[in-house]
Symmetry: C2
Subunit: 356 residues, 2 copies
DNA sequence: TTGTAAGCGTTATCAT
DNA sequence: ATGATAACGCTTACAA
């Protein structure tokens, strides 16, 4: 138990030099040290199996070389990929990555922020947060905390829409949803349902807005009876399927826009359980283009977000901020729609044929 | 930039007490402090917005309250879920979780272990490592490193088979694969192909072994021409599909055991691209029971591993070890097979019908 | 080129 | 019950 890890003092002693010199060698300082002593120190360190203590180093240096990534849920492939991207860049720059699952709960978010402040994390990448709700008291505290963290010199980057005072890289949710809806309309669909995300989550509402905008522009009045509540999970999609199935035939939409891919997967599964044939009975699109989107049957039409790349970009922005390189405060991250088999022309849909 | 975070010294000054007293209050020590002073300290801390420095605390306490989880790739849902479970338990016990993507590369593994040693991580959960290759020089160094880490007093737990000196919780890969293969045999299949995992990765070979064992016991001689190389990815599964498709009709298997679910997904996708109908043309099973396994068409027969729970168990074992509670060195984690639509009786298979 | 010593923010030991 | 002080392991002025 008593782990007598050798410290730099031991190394110095063994090498017969001062701690300062030993430190200069071990820390890779540019400070001049004669070749002879350098080697003696290195040798001593090797012999003692010396391991520098990052905690002490960080304490002294006032920077931890720790980057945190706050995600809604790492078990969700969306977040898992973003986190992967963050870690990739962080690691290649000598940073460790701390992962925090917030479950989109402001209380948990706040608690993590507090802890990360305690640990003097150098950077924090936010994703899967962002609520429209400004009335929640925690939101104010989060605002406050974020400011404190930034004042300390740490960098914060948001990868989802947020009304906080921090640089962000935001996927073009509105644009993607708009394009996707336009595409459905071009296919001839007019009754297009929408399965929402969790209430008051900004990303979800941005997508809803894009959907509505496309409808309106095409002269279709958004019909709120075609809005079904979801929560970004497969289970939510399945519940929406049950509700769709309850609808009298003539009220059924010929297409559904699911707020994210997971929802679309659950929706497809649920509808099929209820005996619907896809895509004949209904066209479906998702959002995100998860790796499974092309694997399901029928392959899912969706909007691609290069999630791993988004994570990488987030981490890179953190690094840039830490070096006080001016980076634009708000960047947009492209989303491009991917047309696949889950959406077919209204002309081919059974809902259309039935009506004939 | 100059972040004048107040330290405990400032709090003490403001409260008009010694740092010792302030510390006793702030650290939640059991040491007696009069109610009056306690409140003065608390007030001062609040006014100064004092945030204890975990780095300093860890340095002093010789424990970092950091737990690391080493995964092959966090973008793989298998690992993402395990990591989620680890983080869940870690967080609820006041630990932060560091995530490390090793890409199953011993060099990267070693480098992470080194860094984690530097940071004095209290615990390390390994998963997605474990090679049969003992000849690789890095493997020896990893052994060495692990021992060093343990000597320091840190806890290490393996969640995949490993020939290292550390406690482990291992999913019953052999048993699951055995059961799954038995099931295929019961369905009447005799020509059962196997898509492997990455070469020399122990988990993959354990599954192969279970498959072989079941065949042999049923009097079927394992046929190595039915072994197709995979690598635990969708892409690997797709390549295997192409190879299967090349096979002359009479040499085709009537069922395939894919070494994990991702491979099975790729395989299904690939085969369908080549015009195969599933499950009529071939039965398929995977391993892992990822959330998508039930969503694909046909729903995938597979062996369930409660991955999040596995991660939780891993973290719990770390905590137990840190408190020197004796926990059994080697635990087995159950796998249970889940029968779904992707596997049908040989009697219903087209390969059988064709032969008639 | 090398060494001395102060300090990063805590906590624990020993006095008082 | 409270306080002074010495660590924890490292880096960096400042001296030599």
């Amino acid at each position: 138990m008593t782990s007598e890890s050798p410290s730099i003092v031991d190394v110095a002693k063994r090498a017969g030099v001062s701690v300062a010199t030993a430190s200069r060698v071990m820390s890779g300082s540019t400070y001049p040290v004669s070749e002879g002593t350098r080697e003696r120190v290195l040798l001593a360190a090797r012999e003692l199996r010396y391991v520098p203590n990052s905690l002490a180093r960080s304490l002294k240096a006032q920077r931890s070389k720790l980057i945190a990534v706050l995600v809604g849920d790492n078990a969700d492939p969306y977040f898992a990929q973003v986190a992967r991207g963050v870690e990739e860049v962080a690691n290649s720059h000598g940073y460790l990555t701390i992962i925090c699952n917030t479950e989109r709960d402001p209380i948990r978010e706040l608690s993590y922020l507090q802890t990360l402040q305690d640990y003097r994390a150098d950077g924090i990448v936010f994703t899967g947060s962002g609520s429209d709700e400004t009335s929640v008291p925690e939101q104010l505290e989060i605002d406050d905390m974020i400011e404190k963290i930034q004042r300390r010199g740490a960098a914060i980057v948001m990868l989802s829409p947020h009304n906080l005072q921090a640089p962000s890289i935001q996927p073009d949710n509105l644009g993607g949803a708009y394009e996707l809806t336009r595409y459905l309309i071009e296919l001839g669909h007019t009754r297009i349902a929408f399965v929402t995300g969790p209430a008051s989550v900004t990303v979800a509402n941005q997508r809803l807005q894009g959907y509505r905008q496309a409808l309106t522009e095409s002269g279709i009045t958004p019909d709120d009876t075609l809005l079904f509540p979801g929560n970004f999970t497969q289970a939510g999609g399945e519940r929406a399927a049950a509700m769709l199935n309850q609808l009298p035939r003539e009220k059924r939409p010929s297409a559904v826009f699911a707020c994210n891919d997971e929802t679309a997967f659950g929706l497809m599964y649920g509808l099929r359980q209820h005996g619907w044939r896809l895509p004949e009975d209904i066209s479906i699109c998702g959002f995100g283009n998860l790796p499974m989107a092309r694997m399901v049957t029928p392959a899912l039409t969706t909007a691609n977000i290069s999630l791993r790349e988004l994570g990488r970009a987030g981490a890179q922005k953190i690094l840039a901020l830490l070096q006080h390189q001016d980076t634009s405060a708000q960047e947009t991250f492209p989303t491009t729609i991917v047309k696949r088999a889950s959406t077919i022309p209204f002309a081919h849909a059974t809902s259309n044929i039935d009506e004939k």
